[in-house]
Symmetry: none
Subunit: 81 residues, 3 copies
């Protein structure tokens, strides 16, 4: 005898979407935080290179921002679909 049970948990996708949005923001926070932290120390060490460091910081942070906004958007689509 072989029993196959398909168990569908109704709220699970939305649960995952909300938790996923949180984990996305956790990653973005840790990543951009680390970039920003190093940028502060770099500007303090070489104030005359401040504008160069700031430009590089924004580029690196924007890359994390891009993936993160896409990630939370996917979570929003899953939650509302």
């Amino acid at each position: 005898m072989f029993n196959s049970i398909l168990m569908e948990v109704a709220g699970l996708p939305i649960f995952g979407a909300a938790l996923g949005a949180g984990v996305v923001a956790l990653g973005a926070g840790l990543g951009i935080g680390k970039i920003g932290s190093s940028a502060m120390e770099a500007i303090a060490r070489q104030p005359e290179a401040g504008s160069k460091i700031q430009t590089a910081m924004i580029i690196a942070a924007a890359l994390i921002e891009g993936v993160s906004l896409f990630g939370v958007l996917i979570c929003l689509i899953i939650a509302t679909a």
Copy 2:
């Protein structure tokens, strides 16, 4: 024999929304905290570069703030939908 069980756990999406909002704020706190912490030390090391450091700090922190506010907004949408 094939059994399909739909198990609906009533509060699961809302549970996820609340937990997700918490994880979003955890990420924002850790990230902006790290940036702010380094900014303090950077200004102390080079007080004359204080305005440059503060500008870069606000830019980096605002990027985290952006994703985080979007993240908690998604959690709010999920919770009230």
Copy 3:
């Protein structure tokens, strides 16, 4: 054969709201704690830059405070809804 089970875990949303509010406060505490800690050490190292450091400290802490207040507000809405 199709079985539909509605399993209602009565306190699940409120459990999530309370846990979420806790995680929000954990993030805010760690983040603002890190900023405040560094500000103390920074002012001790450069007392004459104390006002600059304090301004930057308040800005960075206020950004965390913003997300956190929004996060605990969502948890409050979930808990009382």
